[in-house]
């Protein structure tokens, strides 16, 4: 996962003639507007450096005019960078010859566009086969592969329709299929779902995630929509005025935004979608009793010495077993023969760490006790108390 597929280093795009002068002013710390006044140059992207790892969905987020579309176009050189390095699999495409670049575009990377950019005079199947047609693949082969990718996006029945007979969502499926047909290792998606209505957009995001789960490609996804970024991004880069101001996982960016601009994105964001149970389970009660080597007396003692009202009981390999309270321990001592197992409070089921907060919200709100969190193998990770939940919700507002 940590192989760098795309390495971007010191990337600049300065529009207009005589970029050197504008570059000098940039180094002196002048801002966009000042530079435009003095030189007439527009700063598209300034000093962007980042790595995109193989197989991840790397989201570039920013308001319109922040340079994200320019940035993604420099990755396949639809726009030539003014300065800097873009390495794809270790090869600098900025210095590449035109014919090498065309080969890279045909084999390594495909692009999906906001306005779909389908060819209206071609049928869906020809659109899907466009990349192969350009590369000179014989008709039968390219139709075969195009049909396969159309099938992957659920459009095989419409292969012989024309684009203007399709709805918006279907058109973008064709756009997606066209990108998939080339079997690229990198997909560049420029606001790919922004033109779709919200319901279809979510559907397409799911589609993308599903396709990623079948075959992991490196995806660079441009969006201005935070919810979308949170949903599909493994990591997010936030751009402001042409510069990358923060790179991190969705959680990192929400919990510690680099500046006011980044945090302004999260105003009104549904944090219950952003956070998972595992992210906040460290803040619950900390008392844990290992069943092996404990009995009712030592458990009661441990609970008494802690600040917590309850304790979680774990077994071999830290597997979650249950929860005890002072009352349940006392009860067990009196009536049930003095075994620790008998002191466990009934019906306390753990939630999984990868569940989103929205899914566990109800459980935590209606449970008398903090809700334990476990991973896929039932290993105890922590617990979520009502207080911790409220604090999380509060901070994000």
């Amino acid at each position: 996962m940590s192989n760098a597929k795309i390495v971007v280093n010191g990337l600049y795009k300065i529009f207009g003639s005589h970029p050197d002068q504008a570059y000098e002013l940039l180094q002196q710390g002048k801002d966009k507007d000042e530079i435009f006044e003095t030189t007439g140059n527009t700063i598209g992207v300034k000093d962007a450096s980042f790595e995109v790892y193989e197989g991840e969905v790397f989201v570039v987020m920013g308001l319109s005019g922040s340079g994200k579309s320019t940035l993604v176009r420099m990755l396949n050189r639809l726009i030539d960078p003014t300065y800097g390095v873009v390495e794809i699999d270790g090869r600098d495409i900025v210095k590449m010859s035109k014919s090498d670049l065309i080969q890279v575009r045909r084999k390594e990377m495909a692009m999906v566009f906001q306005s779909f950019a389908l060819m209206p005079h071609q049928r869906v199947i020809d659109n899907a086969a466009f990349g192969l047609e350009v590369a000179g693949v014989p008709r039968e082969q390219r139709y075969e592969r195009a049909l396969k990718s159309l099938e992957a996006v659920g459009l095989k029945p419409n292969a012989y329709s024309y684009p203007d007979e399709l709805s918006g969502g279907m058109k973008q499926r064709v756009g997606l299929a066209r990108a998939l047909t080339n079997d690229p290792s990198i997909m560049l998606m420029d606001e790919a779902f922004s033109a779709l209505d919200p319901l279809i957009r979510t559907e397409m995001q799911d589609e993308l995630l599903r396709l990623q789960s079948e075959q992991r490609r490196t995806v660079v996804f441009i969006t201005h929509d935070l919810d979308e970024a949170m949903r599909i991004g493994d990591r997010i880069a936030v751009m402001q005025d042409g510069a990358v101001v923060q790179i991190g996982t969705p959680e990192e960016i929400v919990t510690s935004p680099a500046n006011e601009y980044v945090s302004s994105f999260f105003k009104g964001v549904d944090v219950t979608q952003v956070f998972q149970a595992g992210d906040i389970c460290g803040k619950g009660p900390k008392t844990v009793i290992e069943r092996a080597g404990s009995d009712l007396n030592s458990a009661t003692e441990a609970l008494k010495n802690s600040a917590d009202e309850i304790a979680f009981v774990i077994g071999k390999d830290r597997k979650y077993e249950g929860l005890v309270t002072a009352e349940s321990l006392l009860e067990a001592k009196k009536n049930k023969g003095g075994k620790l197992e008998n002191a466990l409070v009934a019906n306390i089921e753990a939630v999984r760490a990868d569940m989103s907060l929205s899914e566990v919200l109800h459980r935590v709100a209606h449970s008398r006790y903090p809700v334990p969190v476990v991973d896929d193998n039932n290993v105890y990770k922590g617990a979520i108390s009502k207080t911790a939940l409220l604090q999380t919700l509060d901070r994000a507002v």
Partner: protein, 314 residues
Amino acid sequence: MNPEDWIEINIGQWVENLVGFILDNFEPVLDAISAAIGFVALGLENTLLAINPLVLSAILILLALWRVGWKFAVFVLLSMVLILGMNLWDPTISTLALVVGASFVALLVGFPVGVAMAKSDTVEALVRPILDFMQTMPPFVYLIPAAMFFGLGKVPGTIATVVFAMPPVVRLTNLGIRQVSVENVEAGRAFGCTDRQLLYKVQLPLALPSIMTGVNQTIMLSLSMVVIASMIGAGGLGNVVLTGIQRLNVGLGFEGGLGVVIVAILLDRLTQSFGRIRTSEGFFTRLMRALKGEQQKPTVTGSEQSETPRRAAS
């Protein structure tokens, strides 16, 4: 004091000198152009005139049926009857040949110029004023050098027509290519088009409606010029109109004019039909299918379509 007495700019003299210079020094070139144009224009006319009027009418009617529809086919049928009834078949065909020949040459030259303009801002800046000049100069003016270079007859008529009719196809080819959406061009490049592939696979197909409008306009302008060109002996329906003027014969003039209108409608509808991006089946496809006894291809309606992918995806 008349200011005209002390300012003397003799452009007329210069132009005459230039024409004289060309005549003296480039005669072989002029002869070659004349031969080439003559081959196209006269060849076409002779071919069309050699076909029996009924056969040619039938061909035109079928063409109308295929490209436009049965109503237009009926119109073409009535037009042919009218032209034969007015005894104007030969001049009409002569005009048709002249228009088609001149338009063909205008497109042959104009289309590449339009593409070059779209590809380069410099070329556009250079060509645009020339086009403006060509379009605003009164068409009669072209007749003089054309007659001087090439004498009287069909060849100078065709050449004057080419010059007058070329601008629309140049302009609209340029405009059409420049108006292709940026993302479509980017898509072409992002999937690895070479410059040539980008032109043939993306820009020209998407500019086609605009280019065909240009072709249509060029043909219409040729038609209007062909009437004027009859003054230097281009012949055809223009000659009929001209004779009508000279003899103040209203009836003859009207008949000639009617012939021009019919040719115009015919060419207009037919060329426009090629500008549409056809997605539905034409008449003959349906006819062939019916003859083979096949079922109509199930056409999927919008509502059905939007259902399918969602079902497939869920």
